[in-house]
């Protein structure tokens, strides 16, 4: 039987002591890919398939780790991957800033052994492949609906980047459009956009209308996209076990906000990439005939 070492990304500048010790500790058990903090924004999709990301902070190199963590979150396509920040003697306010920017946890480099951080990555990893019976019959109609809607409304091509399943609540993005689904299948659809993507899509749609992009129009546009994606998927699923009724959309804004689903339900995630930026679709449903282990 062949085995593959779990992949962990280490974001750190050269010359730091803690990252060198981390590489030693991980050697043999993990595959570690190192990326300099100053180049993390250029990483693109390279984090795909990783179990987690460890970001080492050096205040002299990057005074604003929050911004670096935002880049890391964008690079992992807003997946609920554990992103562990390691910084020398982090103050309470620094910890709070890092957590708000997308860190899963913050460790003190002066008192934390690398093995402890590797265990944290393993314990926190919440990503699994999508159950085969849900991939084609449920998730793909939503993926097709999202792709078609963005392409038709914004005239911009979109492609599916990755799909996975998670149980975590946290959603990484600046705008989330939520539509409640009810009937045979209860659940929530969430479309999450980083502000750059949301603004670029809305601006493209507004351009032929001669309207300036305002916060109100931005949220109205993203809400309508959520409405159309859900309606289009509803039609595609009308003759299946997954038929549902839909609510009007609600738009939530704010960096890395948290959206609570019904506890214990699996959340299917599809992340997209395109010329106007990345975004994600998250679908959490109680599914007829599909067992799920959480409370209801």
């Amino acid at each position: 039987m062949s085995t593959t070492s779990p992949l962990v990304f280490l974001v750190a500048e050269q010359g730091q002591d803690w990252p060198a010790r981390f590489l030693d500790a991980a050697s043999g058990s993990y595959t570690v890919t190192r990326v300099p903090l100053s180049e993390v924004h250029t990483c693109g999709h390279t984090h795909n398939g990783a179990r987690g990301v460890v970001v080492c902070h050096d205040a002299s190199l990057s005074p604003d780790l929050g911004d670096s963590l935002r880049h890391v979150r964008a690079c992992v396509h807003y997946a609920d991957l554990p992103v562990i920040a390691v910084a020398p003697s982090p103050s309470a306010s620094m910890r709070a800033r890092m957590m708000a920017a997308g860190a899963s946890d913050v460790y003190d480099a002066d008192s934390t052994e690398p093995e402890q951080v590797l265990r944290a990555v393993d314990n926190r990893c919440d990503i699994e492949p999508v159950m085969a019976e849900l991939h084609d019959s449920l998730l793909m109609p939503f993926v097709e609906a999202a792709t078609h809607t963005i392409e038709e409304m914004a005239g911009s091509s979109v492609s599916l980047h990755s799909v996975y399943q998670k149980r975590g609540y946290r959603i990484f993005g600046d705008y989330s459009v939520m539509v409640n689904l009810s009937a045979d299948s209860e659940g929530t659809l969430v479309l999450s956009f980083p502000s750059e993507t949301g603004s670029a899509i809305a601006a493209r749609i507004l351009e032929p209308l001669g309207a300036d992009l305002t916060e109100e129009l931005l949220q109205s546009t993203l809400g309508e996209i959520g409405n159309i994606v859900t309606g289009s998927a509803k039609g595609r699923l009308a003759n299946t076990n997954y038929r549902f009724a839909m609510s009007t959309p609600t738009v939530v804004s704010g960096h890395n906000h948290e959206v609570r689903y019904q506890p214990g339900l699996p959340c299917l995630v599809a992340s997209f990439t395109g010329e106007l930026g990345d975004f994600a679709l998250q679908l959490c449903m109680a599914l007829p005939g599909i067992a799920h282990g959480g409370e209801s």
Binding site: T149, E152, M153, I205, L206, P208, L209, A211, E216, L217, S220, T221, G223, E224, N227, I228, V229, T230, G231, S232, K234, G235, R236, A238, R243, M246, S247, T248
Partner: protein
């Protein structure tokens, strides 16, 4: 010809207004839900209604039900909805809607709906 656009989304009202201009129907009045739509009908002489389905307060199907008991029941209605569920389309049609356009739509979709709902327009 004056067109009443009933949709809770301001961006969708703008998009519909823009498409209507392109087919020489620039005279529009707008409402954000079914209740506002009924109020607009009491104020303005309207020749055609473009109606969204999913709206707060009074949705599209409720609006069609109310419309049947009013003097404006003969105004042609084009349903413009994201909901492509055929059951809902049939229900709208049974309540008097002339045509059903699924969002997102282009000018060709609007022309086709107008050819059914208001053959002399556009």
């Amino acid at each position: 010809m004056k067109v009443l656009i009933i949709d809770d989304s301001s961006i969708m009202r703008m998009m519909i207004r823009n498409l209507l201009k392109q087919v020489d129907l620039p005279d529009t009045v707008e409402a954000g839900d079914g209740l506002e739509g009924l109020a607009a009908l009491g104020r303005e002489r309207v020749d055609l209604i473009m109606l969204d389905m999913h709206m707060p307060k009074m949705d599209g199907l409720e609006f069609l039900q109310h419309l049947q008991g009013t003097p404006w029941r003969d105004i042609p209605v084009i349903v413009v909805s994201s909901d492509s569920d055929t059951d809902r389309m049939w229900k709208a049609q049974s309540l008097g809607a002339c045509a059903y356009v699924t969002k997102p739509f282009r000018i060709e979709g609007l022309r086709e709906a107008l050819s059914v709902a208001a053959p002399t327009a556009g």
